[in-house]
Symmetry: C2
Subunit: 214 residues, 2 copies
Amino acid sequence: MKRIADSTVRRLSMYLRYLEDLDTRGQQTASSDELAHLCGTTPAQVRKDLSFFGSFGKRGLGYPVHELTAHLREILGLQREWKVLIIGAGKIGAALANYRGFRQRGFTVAGVYDNDPNKVGQPWGEAIVRPMDALEADLNRDDAPIAVLAIPAEGAQAVVDRLVKAGVRAILNFAPTQITVPPHVNLKSVNMAMELEGLSFALTNPGYLDEGAA
Amino acid sequence: MKRIADSTVRRLSMYLRYLEDLDTRGQQTASSDELAHLCGTTPAQVRKDLSFFGSFGKRGLGYPVHELTAHLREILGLQREWKVLIIGAGKIGAALANYRGFRQRGFTVAGVYDNDPNKVGQPWGEAIVRPMDALEADLNRDDAPIAVLAIPAEGAQAVVDRLVKAGVRAILNFAPTQITVPPHVNLKSVNMAMELEGLSFALTNPGYLDEGAA
DNA sequence: CCCTGCTTGTGAACAATTTCACAAGCTCTA
DNA sequence: TAGAGCTTGTGAAATTGTTCACAAGCAGGG
């Protein structure tokens, strides 16, 4: 009954990726030190992260790779299939649907939606683009819990409101705008422009210094 | 001469986006309260973030929108043009190159690189896909300081090493793998699988609770 | 000029996260 | 069974980031 930090969850996800690697290579155990090196963090961090969820390791030996992999999958909720709705049949949506490791991790595209009449009805990967208007009806008979928002900023909030009303409880937002959702809905935003600007800042202000008050 | 948190820089980027909006709408001033509401943060946070770089507001009035916009552009290093190299002529690269607000913010695609012989030489947006082998030579005569890595995880580190050796000092990584760079190189990673898994975790463990030690 | 109503800028309090340091515990060997 | 050599698990300390609370300061009105 403890609040888990977002950063911790992200690291768990990374541990899982590398543990899967080690597992397929047949490695039996891995120490926190080894995991830390692979994932670019510290051994203490690895141990602390895992300790929130139980005692998976053996002192003197390390963590059993195969077992820990299973535990992490369960913790992250990856033992079931998650249906994903892609909103916006553009390049970002295509990149996501194309993404290896998307399916491998149990995420399957349940539908693609767009407003553009030229796109509606077209095949798109293994799905067919459906009109945005069909959203609510489709959701009722086949409710996909995770929606990926890959549309322009304008109107993004309106679409989110519709999704939430229709019962979606998790949204991954790629639209470069601030989205608000009720507290029971989980929202993550990825903003490419913001990341690039972060790099621009770092290059402009070497060492993250504050040089200039105007 | 103060270390600026990553989270602060991200928020600055967001403030800028909304200030630009307000500016084009002709709004003269904005209070920390208004900015906070737009950006989904708190007034105190807004003031603290800005205070790291100077005193831009007027007590009783708020912040002058147009002026603050200019200040933020300067702080973030957006008053110059940044050349961007896209490594990997796939869907993710296409989504990025297509991205509105990419150019608006002063980022221009200086080149696209791929290993696939079927892609090399093909037109791609306004550029022509170049072979990866040409990287070093091209960089010398037209060095792009920011590289976007939109290739699979395998071989990503090798490409990064080449980029670093060739003088690139900022990398935005979309490959789902841990990348290491020397300290003078800035690296940001965006990992879509990780974000989705974060949602999966949140849906599986409502309220971020730790229910089950095995 | 003085008072009222706002809003900034900021040290200090608070909260969250990471790192440290070490006792506890496992395996192997003799 | 005892001892050596590792590595985990975890309170406590340190660090980092956010929120609070309020003095300082500007604008407008009488």
